[in-house]
């Protein structure tokens, strides 16, 4: 075969851009993190200003940390390492530039809209629908640029890092699109197409796997490239990386519902999620060990090389966080930890310890090479390492103490069968010192990162952008891909695996003779497969090698591996008959004013501190009332079950307090609840409720199956003002004067409705929703 030698010049301009953007947004995310940590302890830091309030800034902090800081970092690492691993330049300069500037524009749009209160209220998915479309377009740009680069590569074999990048691109696209399916009501507002339990399930399928496939798999790819590079050692075990990759992508996707343990979610889903979460220990630690053992023979370099120092600590934090995660997914542990700061500590062990340290290691390694210079100061990098380490430990340890303390107090019941701490604020006051400790930890960590920013800036100023090239020998006739798409599936190992699982399932779920026949076939297939493997095993191995030289079949097989968990968990819930087995507590359809109040509640980010889900635990039932049922939130688009209780659950708060209490509480929470750390909401008393938007909103909700009465726009307005006037009249008896169209009135209407249910389902559903008709048909047989 004749070959020719060409020189490939890599596109490192876009890599440099992403590195700088990542560092900039990291600082923004950390400043926001410190501010909201302070707001939790010192409510005055909310400054009585809407766009500076915790409920609006917390989503900005999480989005900035995940999508701006880590997002830009993984794009930099992916583009830099992929070009070198496939020995070719990125396919398109234009797409690379579009990817970079498009992503930054999205971040800026998020930074503007979230503080202004434009939020979907789904965690890490708060951005509004026009931005969602932009994210999808830019992600497709990334995918096209990446896969196009693979298609024109000059290195046949796809290295393990690229497998992780492929899994990231495919899975994030799938998760993002499904969790952002929505119907717009205006340019800046939409309702998700899923409601209640379906929305909860889809959200946490997405939310958990955003951690898995945005914060983990791409960073593992980065680990598999940069760690061996920095250590100047080959990967410890290539075999382990194969097992690690496939088991991780297959198992991770199932674990999402562990965010909903002990809730109204069906028990089979909770058990499934718990089992898969525990199974995750194995692949996660497989990856961690592969990373750490790659350092064998190079441990002494940790004393002097800050890059390896950060990588070793980052991978260790990955191991610790992925040990803690499955632990928290055990239902009995989760009963204590969920809705508390323990979860917050857990995610920060991951983001600060794993993501931030891996990012720092990569930046310290990559920047001197991209600007052809030396790192400005190793001592400053060491200082960053130790301040970062102290900051993380203070943060995580304080959150452990805080979470366990609050969890124990909230669940504590006396021998007489009453709550030991009936006042929620007792538990808040008990952990305020831990909130200060957390803030101090965050500040220390932030200063460490500022040292990185300074160090990197001085490094860049001492060098200049460099063009990196590689000499590549390529054949005159380009080689074909190792396998066709069809060839990816038509292989003996795949067929045998498929048959084994098929017969296994039939044996397990079949009855009588079907089960017996399936068992015989299972054993027979296993024996035949073993004999076949002993004869043709070498060819099977070759076939697998060829698969690793074929990006398209590899990507499709990856999609199969990740798609299963979502389908199996979500599809049954989409087609669920929520009426079966229910004996009452049908959610009341909101009045127009209550709906407006709910949208304000969503917009203000109240879900960041208040849940609406009473779990089936003694302490919760004693504190909040009977445990929540699926039918109680079936018309909630989006669901509001929450994930953290800085304040109490609100599922049954309606009618618990008079209107005047809510009025005063929103004006100044300390006036009604001594020691409360909730912000004041003065703007709710001056700004008007957007009643004009209600007709469109109600029309969209009717299309989604919520049985609203048919009302004209005038009737909606009149109805809202009439209900508002009732609240206003009630407040007047307490000496309060306010107009019925103010936001606080809508919020009170909504809060007073929470926990009030109909004993039977509504009788007149909209005809255009066949799904709801099914619901109601089922109800007639089960509701007396």
């Amino acid at each position: 075969m004749t070959t020719r030698t060409i020189t490939v010049e890599f596109n490192d301009k876009v890599v440099r851009q992403f590195v700088l953007a990542s560092i900039f947004w990291a600082v923004v995310a950390m400043v926001l993190g410190v501010l909201i940590a302070g707001q939790i302890r010192f409510h005055v830091l909310n400054f009585d200003t809407s766009w500076l309030t915790f409920g609006r800034l917390r989503p900005l902090h999480t989005n900035a940390a995940i999508f701006a800081f880590v997002g830009n970092m993984i794009f930099a690492g992916t583009y830099h390492s992929t070009q070198r691993l496939v020995r070719t330049r990125l396919a398109s300069n234009f797409l690379s530039g579009l990817h970079f500037w498009g992503w930054q524009a999205i971040i800026v749009a998020a930074a503007i809209t979230l503080p202004l209160g434009f939020s979907r209220s789904k965690e890490y998915a708060e951005l509004i629908w026009p931005i969602n479309i932009a994210v999808t377009v830019i992600w497709v740009v990334f995918a096209v640029n990446f896969f196009w680069t693979l298609a024109i590569r000059n290195e046949k074999s796809l290295y393990v890092a690229i497998w992780f990048y492929i899994a990231t691109i495919i899975t994030v696209a799938m998760l993002y699109i499904v969790n952002h399916l929505q119907l717009p009501t205006s340019l800046l507002h939409a309702y998700p197409i899923f409601g209640g339990v379906q929305d909860a399930l889809v959200q946490w399928w997405y939310g958990h796997n955003a951690v898995a496939f945005f914060l983990t798999t791409p960073v593992l790819g980065i680990m598999y490239y940069y760690l061996p590079k920095a250590a100047e050692r080959p990967v410890y075990s290539y075999r382990l990386s194969i097992v690690h990759f496939w088991s991780l992508v297959f198992i991770y996707i199932w674990a999402g519902p562990h965010h909903l343990l002990n809730t109204a979610l069906p028990e089979w889903l909770q058990t499934l999620a718990m089992i898969f979460s525990i199974m995750l220990w194995a692949p996660s630690w497989g990856g961690m060990l592969n990373g750490l053992l790659t350092l064998r023979g190079a441990w002494h370099k940790l004393r002097t090389d800050p890059v390896l120092k950060f990588f070793a600590a980052g991978v260790t934090f990955y191991g610790m966080a992925t040990f803690e995660g499955p632990l928290l997914a055990i239902r009995s542990v989760n009963a204590l930890s969920h809705y508390t700061d323990w979860t917050v500590g857990h995610v920060h062990a991951g983001t600060l310890g794993w993501n931030s340290f891996m990012a720092a290691g990569m930046f310290y390694w990559i920047v001197p090479r991209l600007w052809n210079t030396k790192l400005y100061s190793v001592r400053l990098a060491d200082l960053h390492f130790w301040t970062g380490m102290v900051g993380i430990l203070l943060y995580v340890a304080s959150m452990w103490v805080s979470g366990i303390t609050q969890g124990l107090m909230l669940n504590s019941v006396t021998p007489e069968g009453v709550l030991a701490y009936p006042n929620f604020l007792d538990t808040v006051n008990a952990i305020k010192a831990m909130w200060v400790t957390r803030m101090v930890g965050g500040i220390i960590f932030m200063f460490g990162f500022l040292a990185l920013a300074y160090n990197i800036a001085r490094t860049i100023l001492s060098g200049k952008p460099v063009r990196a090239t590689v000499e590549v020998e390529i054949p005159e006739v380009p080689p074909r891909e190792g396998l066709s798409l069809l060839g990816g599936f038509a292989s003996a190992p795949v067929v045998y695996s498929f048959l084994l699982v098929l017969f296994g399932c039939l044996w397990g779920v079949g009855h009588g003779s079907l089960s017996a026949v399936a068992f015989v076939l299972l054993v027979e297939t296993f024996l035949v497969a073993m004999i076949h493997m002993s004869i043709s095993g070498a060819r099977w191995g070759e076939w697998y090698d060829r698969l690793l030289e074929s990006w398209l079949p590899f990507s499709v097989l990856t999609l199969f591996a990740v798609v299963a968990g979502g389908l199996i968990q979500i599809l049954p819930m989409v087609f669920i008959d929520q009426t079966k087995g229910e004996d009452g507590n049908w959610q009341k359809v909101y009045t127009p004013l209550e709906l407006a109040g709910r949208d304000i509640y969503v917009s203000e980010g109240c879900y960041n501190c208040h849940s609406q889900m009473i779990r089936s635990m003694v302490g919760e039932v004693l504190r909040y009332g009977p445990s929540s049922r699926l039918t109680e939130s079936m018309y909630n688009f989006p669901f509001q079950w929450g994930s953290k209780r800085t304040g109490p659950d609100l599922a049954r708060v309606g009618g618990k307090y008079p209107n005047i209490w809510h009025f005063q509480h929103m004006q100044d929470p300390r006036a009604t609840s001594i020691g409360s750390n909730m912000p004041n909401y003065p703007w709710l008393f001056t700004e008007k409720t957007d009643l004009a938007a209600l007709p469109n909103k109600i029309a969209v909700l009717r299309r989604l199956g919520v049985p609203f009465r048919e009302l004209s726009a005038e009737e909606i307005g009149r109805d809202s003002l009439a209900q508002g006037q009732g609240i206003v009249d009630d407040l007047k008896s307490s000496g309060i004067e306010i107009a019925p169209d103010k936001q606080i009135i809508a919020v009170i209407a909504y809060l007073q409705q929470l926990g009030k249910y109909d004993p039977k389902p509504p009788a007149d559903p909209p005809k255009e929703n066949p799904g709801l008709e099914t619901v109601l048909e089922g109800a007639t047989t089960t509701v007396p």
Binding site: V243, P266, T469, S497, A564, L567, I568, G581
Partner: protein, 55 residues
């Protein structure tokens, strides 16, 4: 709470097919890991160590 869930026919069928397909793929890759040749293992493990030139 299991009684609350009722599969629609086709939803259940799609779910089972997806489970089988993905499990099959997963098991297959375990076979792949076990059958990878030593030469490939050595070559792939050292891939990050390849050098480049700076202009």
């Amino acid at each position: 709470m299991f009684h609350q869930v009722h599969f629609s026919d086709w939803g259940g069928v799609v779910a089972v097919i997806a489970f089988l397909a993905s499990s099959g793929v997963f098991l297959f890759f375990l076979v792949g890991a076990l059958r990878t040749s030593p030469e490939r293992i050595e070559r792939e493990a050292a891939r990050p160590l390849e050098k480049e030139t700076l202009l």
